[in-house]
């Protein structure tokens, strides 16, 4: 499966980066479904994260309305949808990053491994050690590259083999080559795309169970994007990955499941990626993924 995917990625590299929706707006369903079929979906079918009737409000404004999703273990789930439809909000609910926003209120349940993460007895800090996140905007610490990656290891008390883990994480995030020998420089001195890969390295260094990624490839060039996609593919053997993307080809290529949100924070369709891209149930979804709307 991995080989298969690799060839696809290489073939697609020239057009792989259409994070800008203006370019390439119109896609045919066949193109997308060709990519989607390259992935096999027969891995673990256990559900790791399940939301039930999830509503999220910012003040009085509802950003997510009654969303039910079952995110399978060790697979890649893509969240797609137009800007402002609540993808980031949904993602941040899973590891309770929304706790930090005063006006944000969550109703309903987010079950992680059978336990509602919004229960009283859940420690969000410990939860976030299991569910790592890469944010939409790259946000490295104003520290050295090395310290950026080692940060999670330090705060989580994983202080054995720090050097090794840091190097491995940087390598997997496709950053090591470029910054070899510059580990002592500030993370802020990297380019935007490099910073994003640094943030990915930082998130995977601590080996969380789940990795949430909010548009990790939006600032990357085609080559780095394809390496990140390979990484996601590789990660999904061991980890559960939830990824937000605006890039339909990317969603089709790398994900096993796809959730389509549309304006108003409603989940319109959630199914196997093949199904969504080959034969979506809703006309609105088809319109959206083929670029007719959104």
């Amino acid at each position: 499966m991995s080989d298969n995917h690799q060839t696809t990625t290489d073939a697609q590299t020239p057009t792989g980066d259409d994070s800008d929706p203006i370019v390439n707006v119109s896609r045919s369903l066949e193109d997308l479904s060709k990519e989607a079929t390259t992935r096999t979906t027969s891995r673990s079918d256990r559900t790791l994260i399940e939301t039930r009737d999830l509503d999220v409000y910012y003040g009085d404004e509802r950003a997510i309305s009654s969303v039910d999703v079952e995110i399978p273990e060790r697979q890649v789930t893509a969240l797609i949808g137009p800007s402002g439809c609540g993808k980031s909000t949904f993602l941040r609910c899973i590891n309770r990053m929304n706790d930090r926003i005063d006006v944000c209120r969550v109703e309903g349940q987010v079950e992680f491994d059978g336990k509602n993460v919004y229960d009283e007895d859940v420690d969000p800090v410990a939860l976030r050690r299991e569910i790592g996140i890469v944010f939409q905007q790259p946000n490295p610490f104003p520290k050295s590259i090395y310290d950026n990656v080692a940060f999670g290891l330090r705060v989580q008390g994983l202080d054995d083999e720090v050097d090794e883990r840091v190097h491995r994480a940087l390598e997997r995030a496709a950053l090591l080559e470029e910054i070899e020998g510059r580990l002592d420089e500030s993370g802020l001195e990297l380019s935007g795309g490099q910073q994003q890969r640094l943030c990915i390295a930082r998130a995977i260094a601590t080996d969380p169970d789940v990795i949430l990624m909010d548009e990790p490839a939006s600032a990357l060039d085609p080559i780095a994007t394809s390496r990140i996609e390979d990484l996601i593919d590789e990660l999904s053997e061991e980890y559960t990955v939830v990824i937000v993307t605006h890039n339909m080809q990317q969603a089709a290529r790398i994900s096993d499941k796809t959730a389509v949100f549309l304006t108003g924070g409603e989940l319109v369709e959630f199914d196997d990626t093949d199904k969504i891209f080959e034969n979506p149930e809703h006309q609105r979804v088809e319109d959206y993924i083929t670029g007719k709307f959104g």
Binding site: N95, R100, D102, V125, R128, P142, F151, G152, G157
Partner: protein
Amino acid sequence: MGTKTQEHEWVGRSNALTKLRGGAFKYACLGTALFGIVTLLVLLAYVTLDAIELQEAEPIWFAILGVTFVLPVALFGWYVWGTPAADVAKTSVGGVLLAAGLGGFFIVAFTIITPHVWAAYVVFAVFPAIAAVRYGDRLPAIDGSGPAVMATVTLGAIVATVFLEPITAIFAMAKPWLLYLLTLAIPTATALIWWSRTREDRAATIAAAATVGGTIALGLLVEVGVLETGGAPIVFLIGFVLPATIVLAHGYRRGPEARAGLLALPTLVGGVVALVAVAWAQGVPMPNSWIRPEFYLEGPSRTPENAGLYPPIVGSVFMLIVMVVAVFPLGVGAAIYLEEYAPNNRLTRLIRINLTNLAGVPSVVYGLLGLAIIARHFGLGRGTVITAGLTVGLLVLPIVIIASQEAIRSVPDSVREASYGMGASRWQTTREVVLPEAFPGILTGTILALGRAIGETAPLIMIGASTSVSSAPTELFGNATAMPLQIFSWQSRVQPDFRYGVVAAGVITLLVILLGMNAAAIILRNRLEKR
């Protein structure tokens, strides 16, 4: 109507009157600002003239001054002007002067705090706190190390205070230099190495080794009887030699071209030495300056010639220590709580608003508060060091809190998010991400606030501090006076020499200390933020 330029509203409408008004306003602002600065400078020039009585120097003395000091310095300045060496010259002279100030502060501070007391507090309060910071994450509760730090510091300080006598008795068995080695030199060296690890700076490692080595060497000199006491030289080594060397080493590493700037210091010092030597050889008397070594080593006197600023300097430094110990942890802690922990409710908002009000309360009012609460109610005594330190500390506390809050608030929220997203607890985020970023701002704010505290007079009068004491305070409950109070008391003397010479010398001293502190604050901020 009709011509092309008039079709656009934004063409050709410049109004002479508007321009005139704008210009008038601009120059009015400039004028008032200049007026303030110029009058201050004129006053300063007068005070300086009074303090060193230049007008009474003989013309030949000015000639010698020109040849030995002004000319070489001007030539040097002309030579390095506009080259990288000029920068090194500035930083090396400024840095060494600041280091001298720091060294002076250290020496005065360590004549007040004996090695045994110092060791007691370091061993019981500082070491456990460092251990809590370092290993607190291993505690079962994830967020346990924040409270653990507070608890260990408080507990350790209380233990050290309550059992001060037996503890110091035990420490008294060790030689002072050994205590300094263990509780001052080695921690300083460790801090330097830690600092260098994060900054890739090998010179710091060497400096650390030199600190420990130098301390041991001084200790051995004491042992073989060459030196009488190890204390002052060790403090001098760590307070002055070490920072000065770091400054010079930095200048040296700027490259061969910039290195010439290091000669600025020898030029200045050599100029002064040459001036004194030539004037002495020629039999020309130096001007009758009121600023001379004895002025800083003697106490009050009936004659202006013998009057000195030593007890008030010690008093001010002692009060400053009390303030730093009381205000810095409280102020920074309060700022951290308000910015990072406090829920955004009405109480928090009320506190925030009132901090600004507190910072604006007149200092006499704080004096009254200190008299009623600290001196009388808590019985710490009228006019004692501790009452004075705490009262003025209370006065600057809101300033420290507000400055620290601002520094903490300027740390972008996205890095906090990143930290929480990595599974860091609130305290870990504060300690690892927020505080390192906010530290330069906090330090600057605190130094500026302490500068304000040093110049305070009214609250000290209110709490009944004497304007003049015969000997320097040696304990927290001793009577003390501060520099501005002493200056005030000299001003009311009958002899004109007091009112002109001695007061002027005192004012200049106070101003130099204040400017030095402000300069240090600014330099520290620029340097630390450049990282």
